[in-house]
């Protein structure tokens, strides 16, 4: 891979705009971007607009103002779903940030290189089981009868699959599943980011008598702070969209897990059981706004993305 990096730390290069308006490519440019633009409009912009349209109308096509929003917000399942997600997100973000940074720093500076690359590979591998597969695997991990950690579960008082699936345990369970599939990839990425810190900088710190902890705290972590923010925002945005995990647990637990545990599930129920697409769209808009806000913050406030060429 010969991608020359834009360093996260680099300042935006001076703009060419205003120097001299250039026309490179001309008409042909439109031809190059045409296919993608069609897809972008069809599956990015149009569905967003259509969802907004549905959320502000009723099923007779009449303008309903904010009535759809207040209807779904008053639904007795609405607040619990968002509460569930909030609890989950707090736990997930804390665990993710602490553990990935800790692991990445440790792998970079504490562990022998050979061991480090083996560990990175092992951490990263479960990422291949993202989605349904990971939930199915964890269904077994959580069943004390078959789990290799059965003793641990029993020690925690979970003597049966049903006991493990106590509603108050669910956020922890989803955090575990998300961490198992997602954290490894981030550890590897963080490690990569740490690797971009020049050896001389670390060497200089060592000469100054900084220990490993100090180096980590004062040099390494600050230098990858942007990536930590990036990861947190992406993880936050993805976390708000939880669907498969509670949906599959609901199936496997024969209904002990609520079918409207997460907001996306509630939207699903609105659309497919109540046949109320407008209400479903209103819930989607709530989630869409969350996603858009995260994306907006990342794109405009961080220097992570390159919008102009050097």
């Amino acid at each position: 891979m010969t991608l020359v990096a834009f360093q996260p730390t680099s300042k935006g290069a001076p703009s060419r705009r205003g120097v001299k308006p250039r026309r490179e490519g001309g008409i042909a440019s439109y031809f190059f971007v045409a296919g993608y633009t069609v897809l972008l409009v069809a599956f990015g912009i149009f569905p967003t607009c259509y969802a907004i349209y549905l959320a502000f109308t009723n099923d007779r096509g009449q303008f309903a103002g904010v009535n759809q929003f207040s209807k779904v917000a008053r639904d007795y399942r609405f607040l619990p779903a968002f509460e569930n997600i909030a609890v989950y997100l707090v736990m997930w973000l804390v665990l993710l940030v602490v553990m990935t940074v800790l692991a990445a720093v440790a792998l970079r500076s504490w562990v022998r290189p050979g061991m480090s690359s083996l560990l990175r590979f092992l951490f990263y591998l479960p990422g291949a089981l993202a989605g349904v597969a990971s939930v199915l695997v964890w269904l077994f991990m959580l069943d004390p009868d078959v789990s290799p950690a059965g003793k641990l579960l029993r020690a925690l008082g979970d003597n049966s699959f049903a006991a493990t699936l106590n509603p108050s345990h669910l956020p922890v369970i989803f955090v575990l599943i998300a961490f198992w599939t997602g954290a490894g990839g981030w550890i590897v990425v963080m490690y990569g980011a740490l690797n971009n810190i020049p050896d001389e900088v670390l060497e200089a710190a060592r000469m100054d008598g900084a220990g490993r902890w100090q180096t980590a705290r004062q040099i390494q972590i600050p230098m990858i702070r942007k990536w930590i923010t990036y990861m947190s925002i992406l993880a936050f945005a993805a976390g708000t969209q939880l669907f498969i995990e509670p949906q599959l647990l609901q199936t496997a637990s024969l209904g002990r897990v609520s079918s409207t545990w997460s907001p996306n599930q509630l939207a699903y129920v609105y659309a497919f059981q109540q046949g109320d697409f407008n209400g479903a769209a209103a819930i989607s808009i709530f989630l869409l706004v969350l996603g858009l806000a995260c994306a907006g913050v990342l794109v405009t406030r961080s220097a992570l993305f390159k919008l102009e060429d050097q």
Partner: protein, 279 residues
């Protein structure tokens, strides 16, 4: 610190090992034997034949569907995103920055955000139940466009392009003869991310495909879970799909992605950092 690393390693690896061992045992052995014991190879064969006989080789059908959906959308993704990324990086046209910003925003939004709106749209256009209802939304891949854009913006000297234009190359020739041959690494990168993401996608096909013949394997796994006795010991008493078969189904379902993962750690890093990793 060593202890933390060991615990982490155990946490990540143990479920994988359990999963790989489970199909070698009978349902009874899975429950009664030591969770990490190995049964026998012949049992894997039994589990396989049980799995295959579920709904007349449904598993193979689902795998084939997954291949069609992921493969088809991969082709469309490459056809659309490589030229688009190239144009965004190396040409100037009206609306370029708008397109770039919108691309970035949609790229960062989690893919599940738009699934329900896309479903509503597909429903509006009466595409529910067609393969296009999966392939077309899958092909929209802003992250891929961004990767190509970054690649061309940083690694293809503008002077070469300018020189080619002076030599009388048409825009298409510049793209096809100069840019494209250099883009091989980034094409591989986009292909990896797109394929893995689409293969593991559940939400969209779950919503738009009503018929179990059309399911990709991820949705099929859900079907397998809900119509078999693995988690409902009595309701599915007539079927042979128990824990070992389900474990085998999981392994088979993720095999293509797993193989890619074995070789792709570096791709992940360079993709996410969109940039340099030393050594």
């Amino acid at each position: 610190m060593g202890l933390v690393m060991a615990a982490l390693a155990l946490f990540f690896v143990l479920p994988v090992i359990w999963l790989l061992l489970a199909p070698s045992k009978t349902a009874d052995q899975v429950v009664h034997n030591w969770p990490l014991s190995f049964g026998s190879f012949s049992q894997i064969g039994h589990a396989w034949s049980h799995l295959m006989s579920f709904q007349n080789h449904a598993m193979l059908k689902w795998l084939r569907n997954s291949a069609i959906y992921s493969g088809g959308s991969l082709i469309l993704t490459l056809i659309t995103s490589v030229p688009a990324g190239y144009a965004l990086a190396l040409t100037r046209f009206r609306g370029r920055t708008t397109l770039l910003v919108v691309t970035l925003i949609t790229m960062i939004m989690p893919s599940a955000t738009l699934v329900l709106p896309i479903f509503l749209e597909i429903n509006q256009f009466h595409l529910i139940g067609t393969i296009w209802s999966v392939i077309l939304p899958f092909s929209f891949y802003p992250f891929g466009v961004y990767l190509v854009y970054i690649y061309f913006a940083t690694s293809l000297p503008r002077d070469i392009i300018a020189a080619a234009r002076v030599d009388g190359c048409s825009e298409w020739q510049v793209f096809a003869h100069i840019a494209l041959p250099l883009a091989r690494p980034v094409i591989a990168l986009v292909a990896f991310f797109s394929f893995v993401g689409n293969w593991n996608n559940f939400f969209l096909p779950y919503l738009v495909l009503p018929n179990s013949d059309q399911f990709p394997v991820q949705v099929g796994l859900n079907q397998l879970l809900s119509s078999t006795p693995s988690f409902n010991p009595v309701a599915g008493a007539g079927l042979n799909i128990t824990i070992p078969e389900l474990a085998l189904a999981i392994i088979v379902a993720i095999l293509p992605v797993l193989v890619l993962f074995l070789f792709s750690q570096r791709a992940l890093v360079s993709g996410m950092l969109a940039g340099s990793t030393k050594g």
